[in-house]
């Protein structure tokens, strides 16, 4: 069902009207006197009460618009100019015999397009240029994707390979990791840490210190933050997960606050670090989870009750700020 009919993977009727009728009828089975076995009842309830796992599976999830394969379309990325030269419109680059990725179907397409272009040359009509444009756009779309397939291109390919390496690495037990692998993990931790700090702004200005934005106008900083709120990359607990876990180790609640580092977040992070991306273009919502986990970790770490090495910067609407500095339980207030 997931393959041929993923839009109705329970096997009920695809027509909503009929499906509802079907569900109404099936509901009555739950009311039939006498005990149903647990398995049967659970299965039936899942379907009729709509408490079922996600049905966003199957072919559309992989091939649908804006789904997995679409987001890997190499066209979403910058392609090399030599690639365009080779594949933009040159029919002769497609081999005339079958080989991997080139079947009779592709060969036949080329023949058809060539014939259509020849036919077009015979046409005496003002709309020739429009037709030529439409035809070339059609064929080049096809040729470019065929070229990408043949050359093994996809969007984000390098970053995805790196991420997969990292996932594999995290699956290894700590004692089995080599020095290089450990260093690679430290690097990613440091990159995330830098990214979180570089996105801490207050009143529109960037704060270069290691700091946590607690609210719109309050920032937490100080030695305690530097020492206690480092991100740590972990593997996620869920089986088959393709995300990394990020956890913040604070005092007694070490490892308590977790967030996910998804592949998407990793890709953006890498792009930004490689200097391809202005930091203002970085989609902040991707970091919301990690930022939020860090604030939770700070709260769980009881920053408010720690007696030393805490600083709260409180911005006022007129652009000045109060600094609350805590030493030995006492709080000093500076205004500047």
């Amino acid at each position: 069902m997931s393959l041929f009919s993923p839009y109705s993977s329970h096997g009920l009727d695809p027509s909503e009207k009929l499906r509802n009728k079907q569900l109404e009828a099936l509901k009555k089975l739950l009311e039939v006197p006498g005990e149903l076995s647990r398995e049967t009842r659970v299965a039936l309830e899942h379907v009729v009460k709509k408490h079922f796992p996600s049905t966003d599976v199957g072919v559309p999830r992989l091939l649908g618009k804006n789904k997995t394969m679409d987001s890997l379309d190499p066209w979403r990325d910058d392609l090399d100019s030599s690639f365009y030269d080779t594949w933009d419109s040159e029919y002769d680059n497609v081999p005339s015999h079958q080989e991997p990725f080139v079947t009779n179907l592709e060969i036949q397409f080329i023949t058809i397009w060539k014939e259509l272009e020849e036919k077009l040359e015979q046409l005496v009509d003002p709309s020739v240029s429009d037709i030529h444009w439409a035809l070339r756009r059609w064929s080049s779309n096809f040729l470019m994707h065929l070229g990408a397939l043949k050359e093994g291109l996809s969007a984000w390919s390098r970053e995805i390979d790196d991420f997969v390496t990292l996932l594999t690495l995290m699956d290894k037990r700590e004692e089995e990791r080599t020095f290089d692998e450990k260093r690679k993990i430290r690097e990613i931790e440091s990159r995330i840490d830098n990214l979180l700090n570089s996105t801490t702004t207050i009143g529109g200005k960037r704060d270069s210190k290691k700091a946590i934005k607690l609210s719109d106008n309050v920032i937490l900083s100080g030695k305690w933050v530097v020492e206690n709120l480092k991100p740590e990359v972990t593997s996620t607990e869920s089986s088959g997960s393709v995300s990394l876990g990020i956890r913040f180790k604070v005092g007694q609640s070490r490892g308590k606050e977790k967030a996910m580092l998804s592949a998407l977040m990793y890709l953006w992070l890498t792009r930004r670090e490689n200097g391809y991306l202005d930091e203002r273009c970085f989609p902040q919502e991707l970091l919301d989870g990690i930022t939020d986990a860090r604030v939770r970790a700070a709260s769980r770490g009881d920053y408010a009750f720690v007696n030393d090495d805490i600083e709260l910067l409180v911005k006022t609407p007129n652009g000045r700020e109060y600094t609350l500095e805590r030493i030995d339980g006492e709080v000093g207030v500076r205004y500047g």
Binding site: K50, N217, E257, K258, A304, F305, P317, Y335
Partner: protein, 552 residues
């Protein structure tokens, strides 16, 4: 001769006025609608007045003042005054110290009054002493009193199921929790600053006045609020919404001292800005339900509901209040419009019923109120009211006014035609009570500025007649509900209840009237949001059984 004509004209006008229904006379109507008769205003059907609360910060100010000062307004002054950290006295000296200003600024919020206006800044008083210099208008509606303490909390205290505890014991428990939380469990009540909350330590011990440390004084104010409408509660146990709001409020109070004061106050604000409007929305539904029954009864449509059905319907008034959706809807506006129309029509109906059946109902009787079962002569049971409506149908239709307006037609048509002359019915959100309710619900909206933490439920889209709302909770509201549903599960089932799963979160939202199970597009979004916040464990493919992390 001329005198005779004048006196005859006067007599005619007088006679005309005598025939005029009560609700058209100025002593029984306001500028916008017929006056709500005591029959309603002294019963659980009554919907308390609401008023604009632009920012959640002002809800905390109101709460602090009601509990510690005994009033949201200043008894000596009529006008409202916002907290202003830079305020100076007549001699030009700052009213607040540097330390107090720093703490006030730490809890500032920004909101816009209208889309085009500039940001306005609001301040939540972190401790009671900071609430002394801000207050509400003398005649302004008391939201905290009517939509929290004498509303859901009173309903739960007097009618809830508490395993044999008396209302007095419950009131004492709730008062203690509220007082302790608002004063702060880690406040500087002595001179040792170690381990105290950084905001309290900033204010220093001398700032914490003795009068606020006095539990009895706070308890007096709280008991007064809780018991103020104890005779106008729904007389049955098992009201889900009031039990849920009370329990959640208690759990939030218990959390104080466990997390930093600043985070706790944001939690409290989020809870208040969510729970109070949802309670109001549910209360508004009672009028609509009663209106529906009354019309059906008087027009002879269907059977009159039994006492059990009435009770069941009232207890479930909190279900499906707002549908989570990513496509903007105007459901909230529809609720206000429908409520106001039903309110006007129901009131007119009661005036008419009284005119037709003076033997059974006197609308001017200040000592009679609608109740569930009409246990004594002071109360008019709903079932009795409906039977009375059904048997009085022809008498109502024989009233002069009825014949004049809708002769030969049904009561529903008469009420609609008669209500048209009231602006509260014609333009429910433009004036009077409807406008006030509409303004109060703005506290649910995501503000254009200063709402980054995400304590909102509604995200406004579009302008003017096309204005609608995406109904989807912000991050902070999700965290608050995740925490409260975890506490609820633990208290209801103990450790045997298992880990917190998405279904628990959805169930908790459903108790407040937000049902994710019927919203096709909202559930995947809920999962995605929780996942990005790091609160969802495991694969979303597990559906409603996916584990959720407890955020606090």
């Amino acid at each position: 001769m001329g005198g005779n004509i004048r006196s005859r004209g006067l007599m005619a006008r007088l006679a005309c006025a005598m025939d005029e229904p009560l609700y058209l006379r100025k002593e029984y109507r306001t500028a916008n609608e017929p006056k709500v008769p005591d029959l309603i205003s002294k019963s659980f059907v009554f919907v308390p007045s609401a008023g604009m609360r632009l920012a959640p910060e002002v809800l905390v100010l109101e709460l602090m003042r009601e509990v510690f000062i005994g009033s949201h307004s200043n008894q000596d002054l009529t006008k409202a005054k916002d907290i202003d950290p830079e305020e100076r006295d007549d001699n030009g000296n700052n009213l607040f110290t540097d330390r107090e200003r720093a703490v006030l600024y730490a809890l500032q919020g920004r909101r816009k009054k209208t889309r085009g206006s500039t940001d306005q800044t609001f301040f939540a008083p972190a401790y009671p002493q900071l609430a002394e210099n801000g207050w509400f208008r003398k005649n302004s509606e008391s939201i905290i009193k009517y939509l929290l303490f004498s509303g859901p909390i009173a309903q739960d205290v007097y009618q809830g199921n508490h395993g044999g505890k008396t209302p007095e014991t419950r009131m004492d428990e709730i008062s203690k929790l509220t007082w302790q939380a608002l004063l702060g469990n880690k406040s500087c009540l002595d001179h040792d600053l170690k381990g105290k909350d950084i905001l309290a330590a900033t204010l220093k011990p001398d700032s914490f006045k003795e009068k606020y440390k006095d539990f009895d004084s706070a308890k007096k104010n709280l008991v007064q609020m809780i018991s103020s409408r104890k005779n106008a509660l729904m007389p049955f146990p098992g009201d889900h919404l009031s039990a849920c709001i009370t329990r959640d409020f208690e759990e939030i109070c218990k959390l104080e001292g466990e997390i930093p004061r600043m985070q706790w106050l944001h939690l409290l604000m989020t809870f208040l800005r969510f729970a109070l409007p949802m309670w109001l929305l549910a209360q508004m539904r009672i009028t609509r339900i009663l209106h529906q029954w009354v019309i059906a009864a008087v027009d002879g449509e269907g059977e009159i509901p039994s006492l059990d059905q009435i009770q069941d319907e009232l207890a479930n008034r909190n279900r499906y209040l707002l549908q989570p959706t990513l496509v903007p809807t105007r459901e909230l506006f529809d609720h206000i419009d429908a409520y106001m129309k039903c309110r006007v029509e129901l009131n007119i109906f009661l005036y008419c019923l009284s005119a037709a059946r003076k033997d059974e109902l006197d609308i001017t009787d200040k000592n009679r109120a609608i109740s569930l079962n009409g246990k004594d002569s002071r109360h008019l049971g709903i079932e009795h009211l409906l039977f009375l409506a059904r048997e009085s149908s022809s008498q109502i239709k024989n009233l002069d006014r009825f014949k004049e307006i809708a002769d030969g037609l049904n009561v529903r048509t008469f009420l609609a035609r008669e209500s048209e002359q009231f602006s509260a019915w014609r333009n429910p959100r433009k004036s009077g009570v409807g406008k006030n309710i509409d303004e109060f619900f703005r506290v649910l909206y995501q503000s254009e500025t200063g709402d980054e933490s995400g304590g909102y439920l509604l995200v406004p889209r579009g302008q003017g007649v096309k204005r609608g709302f995406v109904v989807f909770p912000g991050q902070l509201l999700l965290k608050v509900i995740a925490y409260l549903s975890a506490r609820d599960k633990l208290l209801s089932h103990g450790s045997a209840g298992g880990i917190l799963v998405l279904q628990d979160l959805e169930d908790h939202f459903a108790r407040y009237g937000i049902d994710f199970s019927i919203a096709a597009d909202a559930r995947p979004m809920l999962m995605e949001r929780l996942q990005s916040m790091g609160l969802l464990h495991g694969s979303p493919d597990a559906g409603s059984s996916v584990a959720v992390e407890i955020p606090y």
